[in-house]
């Protein structure tokens, strides 16, 4: 009986937990398609995610699509809990605001936006022998995305 109670409180605690910490959700390439452009998310390390406070997960195949989603106000800033991007080589999830980016028009990305994401500034600087322009979050917001033209 006691055991049952422990498990039960454990479960309650677990579900309670899930609602608060908005962890990134794993990408399923067979199922997931980009919220904006309909492309299936085959290049997993280029995937990005927006998680709303209601725990709705919006997935994107390319950082550019997520930026379009955010700027075109598909949902309002107040409803958003977390925005995640991935390090291109390790696939590690990082928050949009904390990552570094390297841009060159010839860098390949699923939607040909040319902005590649990294967890560390060093990795961004070293990508493709430093061919790209390195951005932090502030600079990323000023990037001239192709869908803006």
């Amino acid at each position: 009986m006691k055991k049952c109670l422990v498990i039960l409180t454990g479960l309650v605690w677990l579900t309670g937990c899930q609602e608060e910490n908005y962890e990134p959700v794993q990408i399923e390439p067979e199922i997931d398609v980009c919220e904006i452009c309909n492309m299936s998310i085959a290049h997993e390390n280029f995937a990005t995610e927006v998680i709303s406070k209601e725990n709705d997960v919006y997935k994107f195949d390319d950082l550019g699509c997520m930026m379009e989603f955010l700027e075109e106000d598909y949902i309002s800033e107040e409803e958003i809990a977390k925005k995640y991007v991935r390090d291109v080589s390790s696939g590690e999830w990082t928050e949009l605001e904390n990552a570094y980016y390297s841009y060159h028009e010839d860098f390949w990305t699923p939607m040909a936006n040319g902005v590649v994401t990294f967890k560390s500034k060093e990795a961004a600087e070293e990508y493709e022998q430093g061919a790209g322009e390195v951005y932090d979050y502030e600079k990323l917001l000023k990037h001239p995305w192709s869908w803006k033209q």
């Binding site: 390439p29 067979e30 492309m39 299936s40 998310i41 390949w108």
Partner: protein, 456 residues
């Protein structure tokens, strides 16, 4: 296609002649030597020793090691001649113009983004034909370059999920290529057009991959008589312009997020004489402009035609919509599904032709209340074709005031359009044929319903 190759034969012959003349003057080597080699020969060394214009013939056997071809050579093989890479980088890299590669089995490339069976690096007039590419990341990668011909190859990628594979043929920039009679299966995207310009794509078979053909920022491409089946999406057209699709067979894209044809943010697209059958969605338009869709058979799809977001200046006429579970679902804007003179044949159109001109007197109204309900309550798909839903739809068609958005065909055709392919058959024995065809489509629709429902 044949014409094109002879057109470029002359300058290449001239070039070879000129080179031979120069070499003759220097050391007096024979013109265009043919070397036959055995499988224990180092292929790269043979290439290094060869002169421009030589032919190297590979006898049956395994030739281990990645190679680079940096001069105009013709390399071909006996059946069973295998060139195998080292599981790193490309298997064959071509950096010279006028190279010919035929009858080889090419395998074992690396797994990085651009690693390929054959990598054409900024070259012209290269011919890759009748090769068999297996266990490669990308099959053939055309990095820029012009006027290359890719024909009669069989291409498949590594085993595993499509997200880990490369593309059958990847065309990055460049123009003037012809791609015909290839069989591409089990890759990520069959043919990926990446900022590509003018390409002729004909009579290829692409199956069991993610997208059959994937267009990104590409222009001036014509695709004729290709067969695209069993992929997630047949034709994925994104941010592209001036594409011409004729007489293609696009069928069995039954993935639950699959489309026969998806046109996204693109313009000046022609879809004519294609057969688009048994897909989750036949054709989907999202931000499409200036498209012309005519004389296609759009049959036995779960949804025949779908519009999302804003689509402008699109023309639809003389298409046959037959035995689709839902003929069309519509977006938010007004649309005309006829060209002012003729519309389309819709098998769920239920009015009559009183004047006898072959055109129904009442407009065909696309989309139903049911579609709109589905957007709010996707699970109501379960009640598809239930008596209640049928009654509801019927009531709605009788009292358009309940109406949704104005998407209609003002000139709906009473009889299916006779298309070139089945015109002859129709003349021979139309009565029995029609009956058989009827049974056939009933069969297909049962199959579709059963298959469709089993996904829920």
């Amino acid at each position: 296609m044949r014409k094109k190759s002879t057109k470029y034969l002359k300058p290449s012959l001239l070039l070879i002649g000129l080179l031979a003349f120069m070499l003759w003057g220097m050391e007096g080597t024979a013109f265009a030597k043919k070397t036959t080699i055995l499988s224990d020969t180092n292929l790269q060394e043979t290439i290094n020793r060869a002169n421009a214009g030589d032919t190297i013939f590979l006898e049956k056997g395994l030739y281990q090691g990645a190679i680079t071809i940096n001069k105009p050579l013709a390399i071909s093989g006996e059946e069973g001649a295998i060139v195998a890479g080292d599981g790193k980088g490309n298997v064959i890299t071509i950096t010279a113009n006028d190279v010919t590669l035929t009858n080889l089995t090419i395998q074992n490339s690396g797994e990085d983004h651009e690693d390929s069976g054959v990598y054409l690096d900024k070259v012209e007039n290269v011919n890759i034909s009748a090769n068999n590419l297996v266990s490669v990341h990308n099959g053939i990668y055309l990095n820029m370059g012009k006027n290359n011909e890719i024909a009669n190859n069989i291409i498949s990628s590594n085993e595993g999920h499509f997200s880990k594979r490369g593309n059958g043929i990847h065309i990055f920039k460049g123009e003037g290529h012809t791609v015909h009679d290839n069989t591409i299966k089990e890759v990520q995207d069959g043919i990926y057009f990446d900022f590509a310009g003018k390409v002729d794509v004909a009579e290829n078979v692409i199956r069991d991959s993610r997208y059959g053909m994937h267009f990104m920022f590409s222009e001036n491409i014509s695709a004729i008589e290709n067969t695209v089946s069993g992929n997630i999406t047949g034709l994925m057209v994104m941010d592209s312009a001036r594409l011409d699709f004729r007489k293609n067979l696009i069928h069995h894209q039954f993935h639950f997020r699959g489309f026969g044809v998806l046109i996204y943010d693109s313009q000046n697209i022609i879809l004519s004489g294609n057969e688009i059958t048994q897909n989750s969605v036949g054709i989907s338009f999202e931000k499409a402009r200036d498209t012309e869709v005519s004389r296609n058979i759009i049959a036995a799809n779960q949804v025949g035609l779908e519009f999302r977001h804003d689509n402008q200046k699109n023309l639809f006429y003389e298409n046959n919509f037959i035995a689709n579970i839902v003929s069309s679902t519509i977006g938010k804007e007004e649309l005309h599904l006829d060209n002012g003179v003729k519309g389309n044949y819709w098998d769920d159109y239920s009015s009559h032709d009183i004047t006898g001109d072959g055109i129904g007197e009442l407009p065909y109204k696309a989309g139903s209340l049911y579609d709109n309900l589905l957007k709010v309550q996707p699970l109501w798909q379960f009640y598809f074709e239930s008596p209640a839903m049928q009654m509801w739809s019927k009531a709605e068609s009788m009292f358009p005031s309940m109406g949704t958005v104005d998407v209609y065909d003002n000139k709906p055709l009473i009889k299916p359009v006779k298309l070139a392919a089945n015109e002859q058959e129709a003349r021979e024995g139309s009565g029995i044929l029609t009956l058989l065809l009827g049974f056939f489509f009933i069969g297909i629709s049962f199959f579709t319903i059963v298959k469709g429902r089993s996904y829920i």
